[in-house]
């Protein structure tokens, strides 16, 4: 690659990264600022202070919320992995009547606006006695059309011969699923895992609706709790909370970026 091309490329990359990262950088900066500075619209704090973080943690039980978010995200992740992979397995390795139709129905669920189903779902969850428990935050999300789709694409790349070889060897379907299909699809499972962890971590309205106290509430609610309506919001504190909320997912993303990319692509194009 010629030097000029390299220079052009790096400038483009740098500019784009500046553009993409600025909001995040800005949030970081504000989280270190004191009241007046923020309203004056400064970009860099005069002095870095952790006071905002301290008061964010004092005002709402952020640690508890972080734990809840983590727990809920992890459970949803595992649940989605299990349920989606079971479904994808059936779609790929078993033939039964109406398979394609059911698959189409599965995919069509992606088009149902979640907001439209919220009230009936709330009533369902309430009738099940799940209000204010982790169940209501997790179980309804175990089935995921996108995940089923992604894994189905991956499972389709597993050579049919592996399945046949295990049939000849007399291995049960479930054992094949458990001992072969899942381990072989590790990358895709990790991808889906990261994806579902991230999306669950970021849920807001539903957790608010079905939880009643801090023992099960998630961190996005904490974020909301720090903003007031009729009286002034302390922006520094809110930004500190924003940072606390996004940090775990950003770290997860940075660690899993490569895997996520490979896995998602596999689902997208085959």
């Amino acid at each position: 690659m010629s030097i000029t091309r390299k220079i052009v490329l790096y400038s483009l990359l740098t500019l784009s990264v500046l553009f993409m990262m600025f909001p995040i950088f800005y949030a970081f900066m504000i989280s270190f600022m004191q009241g007046g500075e923020i309203l004056r619209g400064n970009l860099i704090p005069d002095s870095f202070t952790f006071a905002n973080y301290q008061s964010a943690f004092e005002k709402v039980p952020l640690f508890q919320y972080l734990w809840n978010s983590f727990y809920v995200s992890a459970v949803v992740m595992i649940g989605q992995l299990i349920v989606s992979s079971l479904a994808a397995y059936a779609f790929v390795f078993m033939s039964f009547k109406g398979r394609d139709f059911i698959f189409f129905v599965f995919i069509s669920t992606m088009m149902i606006p979640w907001e439209a189903t919220m009230v009936p779902n709330f009533i369902t969850v309430q009738k099940l006695g799940w209000l204010n428990s982790y169940s209501s935050l997790t179980i309804p999300f175990f089935a995921l059309a996108f995940g089923t789709f992604l894994l189905r694409q991956q499972f389709k790349t597993i050579p049919k011969e592996l399945f046949e070889a295990s049939q000849v060897a007399g291995i049960s379907r479930f054992r094949f699923f458990w001992n072969v299909v899942l381990p072989v699809s590790k990358t895709s499972l990790i991808t889906l895992g990261i994806y579902s962890f991230l999306t669950t971590w970021n849920m807001y309205l539903w957790p608010l609706l079905v939880t009643n106290n801090e023992s099960v509430r998630t961190v996005q609610i904490g974020l909301k709790q720090l903003q007031s309506q009729e009286i002034s919001t302390e922006w520094g504190v809110v930004m500190a909370a924003v940072v606390v909320v996004i940090l775990p997912t950003l770290i997860l993303l940075f660690i899993g970026q490569k895997r996520l990319q490979n896995g998602l692509t596999q689902g997208a194009i085959k």
Partner: protein, 373 residues
Amino acid sequence: MKQVELRNVSKSYDGKSQVLKGIDVTINPGEFFVLVGPSGCGKSTMLRMIAGLEEISGGDLYIGDVYSNHSPPSKRNLSMVFQNYALYPHLTVEQNILFGLHTKKITKAEQKKRCNETAEMLGLSELLKRKPRQLSGGQRQRVALARSIVTHAPICLMDEPLSNLDAKLRSKMRSEIRQIQKRLGITMIYVTHDQTEAMTMADRMMILHHGQVQQIGGPIDIYNFPSNTFVASFIGAPPMNLSQVSFRDREIVLDDHRAISISEEMARSIPIEERIIAGIRSEHIKLAKGGKVSFYAEAVNVEVLGTETLITFITGNKQWIAKWSGQWNISIGEKLPLYIDCADLYLFKQETGECIWHQSNRHDQYSLKEAIF
């Protein structure tokens, strides 16, 4: 060792077109039986029906005298080696070899023993802890083989197990597989589309074409006495040279009016009115020495392959190839005097391709005793 018998077996995937038609064959216990044919002729389908991976649409399958049309694969007591080996990529060689043995109710100790034995036999002992992706093609092939041997199943099915290997390795594996099969006395049903493999490995082979059996027999018999033009051109490299011919008394005339004189006996056996195709193996087109020239031809391509030379020339609108042993320094365009012994000719009916005449014995068949003394 078990016998496998197919009685009038047929297969259709879509209920309309028949992929296999009326297959009748008995594979003897301990036999190395090769199924050969061009791509898409139904070889895999037949193998998979024997394995129980594909339903049988018509006819009966007997495995060791037991009617087995409907028994599940695991109950047929056979093992299978797939073209792409179907190794489990996440398991080690050892785990791959032992995968599924537990279903046969074999103790851990016995499993271990068998695994070591098999690995020893196939030279895999050093590799037991590796993953498949850390193995070369030939090693993978051997793992697949080991996995099938370790089950001690009396019947082994293989679907083009060598086609992913390079030429050198392939020829090595050929003899390895053959030796193991003989040692263990397994009944082997082996699919390939490579005629060299078929020729060198088979006790008997079956040639399939368009889902129909063309010929069943020992490799040499099939090479020497192909039952029709398809078999004649499919078996043998380069393939048998074939051309439509007509007759003039005691002469066979090619379509460019070149002629080969034939014996009286042969002339008598030919039904004059039929449209006939004549065939000649490339090794039987010889350089004419001492004036015994059948015709002259101009070399259009010459390939010198170490110990033999392939010379391509045109007769009528066909390219024929002559194969001479030794390294021949022939330039393209050179005129060659060629001689064909009429005894080496094959004659086929044009419509059906059926062989209507061939010599009863090849004259280049030798046995040691005759040769030495």
